[in-house]
Subunit: 352 residues, 2 copies
DNA sequence: TTGTACGCGTTATCAA
DNA sequence: TTGATAACGCGTACAA
């Protein structure tokens, strides 16, 4: 279908080499007559020549591709990150293989295997997290790293390894969110976390604790609750239960809740409303993530804004740097500081 | 890094051919001793052998890849479609190249060019639409088709060509939505469309008209308004203006509005509320698309539900069929019928 | 200024 | 039951 260099050579009665030089803009280096160039260019056009990247890749041992592995495609989170990734990668001349692992680490391992067979120049992985207690197996990631294929993690990392990553500064985000609540006068601040064993969740919890400690507020274990995740229905049921528990604490009832993510915050908001109390008057709420829908719900959520497209851009810049300059061996551990977006659910500016 | 067949052959003192047969499970066809198989498998494992897809692709003239070109990455629409696409394609053994054209048809043409150089086995394109009046250039698509590369369009099509497509049945969706409003007793039903020249928008308008005609309601041109798009701010400003116009019609003021998409409906809802009227009591509203946020806004939207993941799945099935059975030359023109999701904004079940 | 020849890692054909 | 060899399309060192 698409003509080959060979065919052009035959048509023009020139050698394959000459044609190759001209079509790869190396004509100047060698010195090829203007006339020949023109002829070649013309017949290339006429024959509809299109360079064959797979042959080129085989020869050059470089594919100009980046493999992307994401846990899931739901929501808008992945979307915005990919938007950042693709804008940088295309600009730098890389194409993207997209793989979704659907929260299944065996699928993740399979995809990574496939990407290796495709000889991608590098990989960006948002890896599958696992519930607390389950044993995660990240051998496939370590192996990639060991084999010297540029690899970078996004949004969560693997502590104790030297794999590059770009994440949200979850600790700082949580710290700021809780500090904001403290400044609004709250002392009984709860945290709803989630039954997942990953760095982002952990660091949000740590940020919460540190903010309280720095403000001289004692940490109350009763104020830290964990909900199940996975199925969305479980999350909802669990959040409702947690809110009910909080409300039965009467005098000790928290006046503010910082949640591990916007999804939990939205269910909490609903649960509070349904129990006859209101947000933020009775209980203030701060989420984490800044999903699109968070601004649109009945009580628009105050949230920590994950810098999603920035994450995508940064991670890609670093990966490409590592691809193109293999001599750089420093481990990149980047945490981007998120901003707090103040809307209604925290009660800032409202009477309390 | 990763070993080659050659290296395994040397290590085992066997021939390249033998090794290839064994590692590609063709050992039975030829008949290779169990012992040899074992030896080869072992050393392959030890050497960390990984088949090289790019070499394989070069030889077999098939890459096992599908190119995806989407106009934009915003919202959740693309997300759900991709979810459908990737689940089918991965199941069938194809990997995905993802390209975003950002509503820029030159970028789109560029991406398609790149995909051709990468020798993708087929392409799925959600092409850039253009504002009414601008001249769209779809030569790059026609050329792909002409060159015999399997190509299928999603969500919108190119009338007058024989390019396969899978779309939402926009006409039927609009027809049902408007008929629903008519059944609720409305006669003054407006439609807000958008200044884009693409089949889906056109067909929604046509569906709206047909529903009115079939119910014996005369079409009032004053009830059909167009808003600009592109920048979200323009949309908002235009929708507010249109609503204002409707409200000044006094006795002739529409009692219901069917909008071209959920985004417009949400702005309309806001505008109506801000002008002191309410949805659905004063004006009923039906959107098209079913974005996630549409269920969460203050007055949950009644919408036509675009079957996004189904679109993705269907389009991929057809594409792969066309890839693997080139003898099939019938043109596939699939329109999937969407369902109406009744929530609050249409006033069904509410007193009016 | 142009041509020859080899290699990238596979698969496939034909011999042995 | 196994091995030698020729493609696939391209890039490049070297020769002419």
């Amino acid at each position: 279908m698409a003509a080959t260099l060979q065919e052009i050579a035959e048509k023009t009665k020139l050698s394959l080499t000459t044609v190759s030089y001209i079509l790869n803009n190396k004509a100047d280096d060698v010195g090829i007559s203007e006339k020949t160039r023109h002829i070649v260019r013309q017949t290339a056009k006429n024959l509809g020549y299109r360079s064959n990247q797979v042959a080129r890749s085989l020869k050059s041992q470089k594919t100009g591709t980046i493999g992307l592995v994401f846990t899931n495609a739901r929501g808008t989170f992945m979307n915005e990150i990919i938007s950042g990734i693709q804008s940088v990668s295309h600009q730098e001349g890389y194409d993207l293989f997209l793989c979704i692992s659907d929260d299944d680490w065996e699928k993740e391992a399979m995809h990574i295997q496939m990407l290796r067979e495709r000889r991608v120049d590098g990989m960006i992985v948002f890896f599958v997290s696992c519930r607390k207690g389950e044993k995660a197996n990240h051998d496939h990631l370590l192996e990639v790293k060991k084999d010297g294929i540029p690899l970078i993690l996004i949004d969560r990392y693997l502590p104790g390894t030297d794999i590059d990553y770009v994440v949200t500064d979850d600790f700082a985000g949580a710290y700021d969110a809780v500090t904001h609540l403290i400044k609004l006068g709250h002392k009984k601040i709860a945290h709803i976390t989630v039954l997942v064993d990953c760095t982002s969740v952990q660091n949000r919890l740590e940020g919460y604790k540190k903010a309280l400690i720095d403000a001289g507020i004692e940490i109350n274990k009763e104020y830290i609750k964990t909900v199940d995740c996975g199925d969305d229905k479980n999350v909802k049921a669990d959040v409702y239960k947690v809110i009910k528990d909080f409300l039965t604490m009467e005098n000790e009832r928290p006046t503010a809740i910082f949640t591990v993510n916007d999804g939990v915050a939205m269910y909490a908001s609903k649960a509070i409303k349904e129990s006859g109390l209101s947000v933020p008057q009775d209980i203030a709420l701060v989420g984490f993530g800044n999903f699109i829908e968070s601004a649109l719900v009945e009580v628009p959520l105050t949230v920590v804004d994950q810098p999603k497209s920035e994450l995508g851009e940064k991670v890609t810049e670093i990966l490409i740097q590592k691809i193109e300059q293999p001599e750089l061996t420093d481990v990149k551990r980047i945490a981007i500081k998120p901003k707090l977006i103040i809307r209604d659910s925290c009660g800032a500016g409202n009477t309390r």
